[in-house]
């Protein structure tokens, strides 16, 4: 099993969710996060004072998937979330040892 983590632009989140559901992903954990990459945030001006807003709001999606689905899921996220401009985000994959469904105690593949 793999943990797919994606940090994407907030306005792309609905599209990504729909695409993943169509593919068959049944659940995910989503959080509102902030951060920055090469775009280094932006500036805002209040009463003439410029502020560097270093952190840009993003959506982080976490999904645990079977090894065989990993490439498909990553591909769907990248394809759907892409605008081609700076700040589109990142997707990374990490190994997962064990998953347990809290309600039933099912483990690993049965728990996905």
């Amino acid at each position: 099993m793999k943990l797919v983590t994606a940090v994407i632009k907030p306005h792309k989140w609905e599209d990504v969710r729909e695409a993943l559901e169509t593919f068959g992903v049944t659940g995910m954990t989503v959080s509102e996060v902030s951060g920055y990459g090469r775009q280094k945030g932006h500036t805002e001006v209040y009463r003439g004072a410029e502020y560097d807003i270093a952190l840009v709001p993003k959506i982080r999606i976490e999904i645990v998937v079977d090894d065989g689905d990993t490439e498909d899921v990553v591909g769907i996220i990248v394809k759907t979330a892409q605008t081609g401009r700076i700040g589109d985000g990142k997707v990374w994959v990490s190994p997962v040892d064990t998953v347990v469904r809290v309600r039933t105690g099912d483990r690993d593949a049965a728990a996905l």
Binding site: V45, A49, I53
Partner: protein
């Protein structure tokens, strides 16, 4: 006269609304999320203290008469002559309350210069002392028939201050600047981001200030006439004057908002909502002394000048490294000066004030009087505010400690935080608090 009396009741309630909640919202939205409650409490607290002080000795010290000022020509009036409104007839109480709301908002305005860092106790000590040393004497000299008004009225013109350009705005502006200087910068000033945390509150506050300002300016007809002396003549004056002050207040405010937005568009590329809110207040400030002195052209000119000059002035604090946090100097001192001094140029005998300024063939006399009234306020309040601020600094001290300021003054001073942004974790914490108290734990019991 019944209509006038009813109008004064409404006007007074409108001016009350300018402090609570309008100014509290305007300032609260511009402060940071960790200090918004403290910012709002400075306005609410100032109102409560000013009201008590005002009826005990404020009226006596500032006006010292029954309904109008005593016109004694003295620099200072005794706070004890009419202590507790002794000698004021009940029918004149409404003028006392009207003036009370002015004293309250003036001292509350100062709080914007020292946001996020001052102990509530120090503020509560400052408010009554400052009102006694600075507000009531200036009010006496400009409106109560004190020394300044008597001296200036010896010439061909008098200093015109319809609703408080000197008494309210220059007064609060200079006091705010001096407090910011003596109390010092916030931790992280010009380094950490200190942008406004909720501009919707600020927009609502500016809108309510605008609405309330009709009570402030239009209601200030009380300063210009002893209505009881000749009710018929006053009725004519009332009908001829209130429409002018109402319209001038409106037009100048619109011109100032557009002026501020234009400056922003030129200097920074975008017209902002904070710029609109600030422009509204700058315009209202500038037209305050002038709303009875100018015609429509004058109102537009004063508004536009205030919007443009105040928008330029708010940037100065970064050059001066003076943490006038919410621009009390940039908006109230500068706006107050713009309005007070432009009367000297734009005042016209066609307006209710009835004096021709420089542009209307009246010569320099009016401008001279306006400058002297402004200078008097700056010097008087500048000196006395310095003394008061230093006295508090070296006795009880002004500031919360640095750690409390960084963590958030709301929690340090009030034991509260304005926003519950993490519902699931903080609700379990609140159960712990309730368990230790006698308050019912379940929400059903609370309801």
């Amino acid at each position: 006269m019944d209509g006038y009396y009813a109008f004064m009741l409404v006007a007074t309630a409108l001016v009350l609304m300018m402090t609570v909640p309008a100014l509290a919202l305007f300032y609260g939205g511009m402060s940071r999320s960790k200090s918004v409650l403290n910012m709002m409490m400075m306005s609410y607290g100032a109102f409560a203290i000013a009201a008590i002080v005002f009826v005990l000795w404020g009226w006596s010290e500032g006006w010292g008469g029954d309904g109008l000022g005593n016109g004694d020509g003295n620099l200072l009036n005794s706070p004890f002559d009419m202590f507790g409104l002794d000698g004021v007839s009940h029918i004149n109480y409404i003028y006392v309350v009207f003036q009370l709301t002015f004293a309250a908002i003036t001292v509350a305005l100062i709080s914007g210069a020292i946001a996020d860092r001052v102990k509530m106790s120090a503020w509560f000590v400052f408010v009554p002392i400052w009102l006694t040393a600075c507000y009531f004497p200036i009010a006496h000299n400009v409106w109560g028939g004190g020394w300044l008004a008597t001296q200036l009225s010896k010439g061909s013109t008098i200093a015109q201050d319809y609703a408080g350009g000197t008494v309210v705005h220059i007064n609060a502006g200079i006091a705010g600047g001096i407090l910011a200087l003596i109390i010092g910068k916030r931790v992280g000033f010009m380094k950490d981001p200190m942008r406004p945390h909720n501009l919707t509150l600020t927009m609502i506050g500016a809108g309510l200030l605008w609405f309330g300002w009709y009570g402030f300016n239009v209601g200030s007809i009380v300063f210009t006439s002893d209505s009881m002396a000749d009710p018929t003549a006053f009725s004519t004056q009332f009908q001829g004057e209130t429409g002018v002050t109402f319209l001038n207040t409106t037009i100048a405010t619109c011109a100032a908002m557009l002026g501020w937005l234009l400056m922003e568009r030129i200097l920074h590329g975008k017209a902002t909502s904070l710029g609109a809110a600030s422009g509204i207040v700058a315009g209202l400030v500038a037209i305050t002394p002038a709303c009875g002195a100018v015609d429509l052209t004058g109102a537009i000119a004063i508004g536009a000048a205030a919007g443009i000059l105040c928008a330029a002035a708010v940037g100065l604090k970064f050059k001066l490294k003076l943490d006038d946090s919410l621009d009390v100097v940039g908006v109230h001192l500068v706006g107050g000066l713009v309005g007070t001094l432009l009367i000297g140029f734009l005042s016209t005998s066609k307006a209710p004030g009835g004096i021709d300024g420089l542009f209307y063939g009246g010569g320099l006399s009016s401008l001279g009087d306006q400058s002297l009234a402004a200078l008097f306020t700056i010097v008087w309040t500048g000196l006395l505010t310095t003394v008061i601020a230093l006295a508090i600094k070296y006795t009880i001290g002004w500031r919360v400690d640095e750690e409390a300021e960084v963590e958030g003054i709301d929690y340090d001073q009030h034991g509260e935080t304005a926003y519950d942004l993490h519902t699931s974790t903080s609700s379990s914490a609140s159960t712990g608090v309730l368990a230790g108290s006698t308050a019912p734990v379940s929400e059903g019991a609370n309801a």
